[in-house]
């Protein structure tokens, strides 16, 4: 032990100077916070875009003062044009999926807490870690640049289906440089995520402290680990897809563009490509991506629930195995996005079956969470409220997946607001609830100050009710056949639905306003919050064994030795009803 710590001291010296400490930092904790800040910035932009979209849907001719500054062509006189709606939609979806849901629950919290939870001083490759953040930031800036160029952002949705996305300027405004920027941004994003995933995997495999066997890792560490394995494969496929797309656009190749297309009255020079190839490559990434978005939140929520219930889950092992099987199955289901795409109808059945099967591990997890609540003593605070809210949201969104997974039903529900309702419920709300829960839970560790509980709980109630009001009605619209990605609808169809759309818009604006409470709380508590003790929630895992905020090398040069599995609650310990993972006292039973 003595010898080891002697060597350890050389890992890397504490950084000096502002730049090294906070900007080009190699410290996983700083990088985690940078990711968090990037996610927060992206979610704010994405949310603002969603307000504009909602506003345009119900008040298409009302002026929004000042909006012409954003885009002269897209919002002349402050009135959003139907074309610009598609730009907003594309940027909203892209920002949310890539820059919010891949960054916040996975890269941000994962970076901050994964090394600490396994007792490591840092990630395995700190330099790669810094590079992956900066690569991601560049990707973000490239994407945002699309707002500024005269061309404007692309209009092909976050899925960027070829050949619309591949034929270039002829396809409409924003499909010139705007689309190029999109593809470049996503390609860069892939590289950053691959580096990050590689780092997570190597760290988890090799830097675990003494006694930290795989099964002693906290559930959220497991979730980040499984997520990195998925991310490694998913982004390794999206990157080639983006490269081929860029070649089609810039070099005149024909990977995705078939012969004889006449776009904007111009016969395209390409020939022989396959539009479905893009869809296959995209969804081969896209479906695992949605589990990249939800698994970390599942992990975080499990971690927080256990702490709040003061007893372990019925079985942590089953949760971990379920997450693994979700990760595994996620590779075989991508075709469920393509039931009516012209793919062979037999394949639809083949894809439907594993999609339905994936609901089994999801149900197991849900039942374990619910069953574990039985007989607990649940502490209510902002973190645990969001964790409980997560369960409710995940059920609501997951159940609608069960409809879509059946090809025959998907014939009528595909491309309607039912799908939009489904994915906002699971992704836009459930996953983000995981982020919120994590924020309220770990803020004290990350900043050394407690977050304001009153504001936190107020934020929960408004968001919980608000998001149900926004996203539940989407399903009803979808059942009627209201199609998505439409900036306006014919009157006779739309008339009866207009009140519902108005209701959604008002709920969206209100819920959005409620997020200001959260952001205020973040900033306020960061500077004025009550100083946080080491272990405010009486947690058992390693992050609670070190000061808040942790010193630069996490354990102050010491090396934790792990004696217990991560959740020794409901026992008689020296400090109360729990035993820390690194405490040598014997575990009960």
């Amino acid at each position: 032990m003595e010898e080891a710590s002697d060597q350890q001291a050389h890992v890397h010296p504490p950084p000096e100077g502002f730049l090294r400490k906070y900007v080009f930092s190699l410290d996983h904790k700083v990088i985690g916070k940078q990711y968090y800040a990037l996610g927060l910035l992206a979610v704010c932009i994405g949310m603002a875009l969603s307000w504009l979209m909602r506003f345009h849907l119900v008040w298409p001719t009302t002026r929004i003062p000042g909006l012409e500054l954003l885009s002269k062509a897209g919002a002349p006189g402050g009135i959003i044009t139907p074309e610009y709606y598609l730009s907003l939609l594309t940027m909203h979806g892209t920002l949310m999926v890539f820059f919010v849901l891949t960054n916040a629950p996975f890269a941000a919290f994962g970076n901050y807490f994964l090394p600490i939870q396994i007792g490591a001083e840092d990630m395995a490759f700190p330099r790669f870690n810094m590079m992956s953040f900066w690569t991601t930031l560049v990707a973000f800036l490239v994407l945002i640049l699309a707002f500024i160029i005269p061309d404007g952002p692309p209009i092909s949705g976050w899925t960027s289906y070829a050949p619309l996305s591949a034929v270039g300027k002829d396809a409409g405004p924003g499909m010139g440089w705007g689309m190029n920027l999109w593809a470049i941004s996503i390609a860069i994003f892939c590289i950053g995520s691959l580096l990050g995933a590689l780092n997570f995997i190597a760290t988890t495999l090799d830097l675990r402290a003494k006694g930290m066997t795989l099964m002693r890792m906290p559930i959220c560490t497991w979730a980040w680990f499984i997520t990195s394995c998925i991310a490694l494969l998913a982004f390794a496929v999206l990157l080639p897809a983006c490269i081929l797309l860029l070649l089609d656009r810039a070099a005149g190749t024909s990977f995705f563009i078939p012969s004889g297309l006449v776009v904007s009255d111009r016969l395209q020079a390409h020939s022989g490509g396959s539009p479905l190839l893009w869809q296959h490559l995209f969804w081969f990434f896209g479906h695992p991506e949605v589990y990249i978005a939800i698994l970390p939140s599942m992990g975080i929520v499990s971690h927080i629930l256990i702490n709040s219930m003061r007893k372990p889950l019925l079985s942590a092992r089953v949760i971990i195995y379920s997450m693994m099987s979700i990760g595994f199955l996620s590779w075989m289901v991508w075709g469920h996005h393509m039931f009516v795409s012209g793919m062979n109808p037999f394949s639809s059945l083949l894809f439907s079956f594993p999609t339905l099967t994936i609901t089994i591990p999801a149900t197991i997890m849900t039942l374990i969470w619910l069953g574990s609540l039985y007989g607990a003593n649940i502490r209510i605070n902002a973190a645990s409220l969001f964790a409980l809210g997560f369960i409710s949201m995940f059920v609501s969104g997951g159940v609608s997946g069960f409809f879509l997974a059946q090809p025959s039903i998907d014939i009528v529900l595909h491309a309607t607001y039912f799908v939009v309702g489904h994915f906002h419920m699971v992704m836009g709300v459930a996953s983000l609830f995981g982020v919120f829960a994590g924020t309220y839970f770990w803020f004290s560790k990350m900043t050394g100050r407690m977050m304001n509980q009153t504001l936190g709980q107020l934020h929960f109630w408004l968001t919980f009710i608000g998001t149900y009001c926004i996203f539940m009605p989407f399903h009803y619209l979808g059942l009627v056949g209201n199609v998505r990605r439409y900036s306006s609808f014919v009157d006779d169809f739309m008339g009866p639905l207009m009140p519902l759309h108005k209701f959604i818009t008002i709920a969206a604006l209100g819920t959005g306003a409620a997020q200001l409470i959260f952001i205020f709380n973040l900033i306020y508590s960061r500077y004025k919050g009550v100083p946080a003790p080491e272990n405010p929630w009486n947690g058992t895992t390693l992050e609670w064994s070190i000061p808040s905020p942790p010193p630069w090398n996490n354990f102050g040069g010491k090396h934790p030795i792990i004696y217990h599995d991560p959740y020794q609650y409901d026992v008689k310990g020296l400090k109360g009803d729990y035993i820390m993972q690194d405490s040598p006292e014997p575990s009960a039973g």
Binding site: H10, A124, F125, T253, S254
Partner: protein
Amino acid sequence: MSSTSYESVRKPPPALGVSKASSARVAKVLYGAGEASRSGIWVGIFAITMSFAAFTSALFVRQGSSADWAHIALPAILYGNTLALLLSSATLQRARRAILAVAATESHAVRQGLGWLMATLALGFVFIGGQYQAWRQLAAQGLYLATNPNSSFYYVLTAMHGLHVLAGIAALVFVMSRFASRHAALRRSTFEATATYWHFMGVLWLYVLLVLRTKL
């Protein structure tokens, strides 16, 4: 990842800096460093494999999507390039032996190690130059990136592989500079990871060549 050996309890991360060893030469190659680099490099190889699998499946789909698949004759120089790349793996193995000897016996094998590394690097450049030459030959036949799907895939696959080889060359240069320097130490794990990567480039090239030969 299924390897059960990871189940066992690991020692804390091993030393990274200059050891207390007396001879500067010996310090060049440290023992026991970084399991993490090893799993890191294998994870990376896994991701690269996945990318090339994606390119390959794109190739299959594209071939089936339309009747414009046109055979192209591979430039003969590719086989020379293949030879160069395979040889470079052999020289790298020689370098490896020499370098391990440096650490073990404090002998003067440094020169030898550097020599073999130099040879590896040179062969790497021969390969890249040869690949470039092959492109020129194809272009001279009027086969450009966008001429037909076969040429598209030819350029894309060779370019992607070439980029990865360039990354390997950068790693080799880094290893050599570390190894030659009196001040900085070369971690054994860094060297081993680079070597693994370089061998993988050879294997990957054989795979790409197979695809090019049988499909284009």
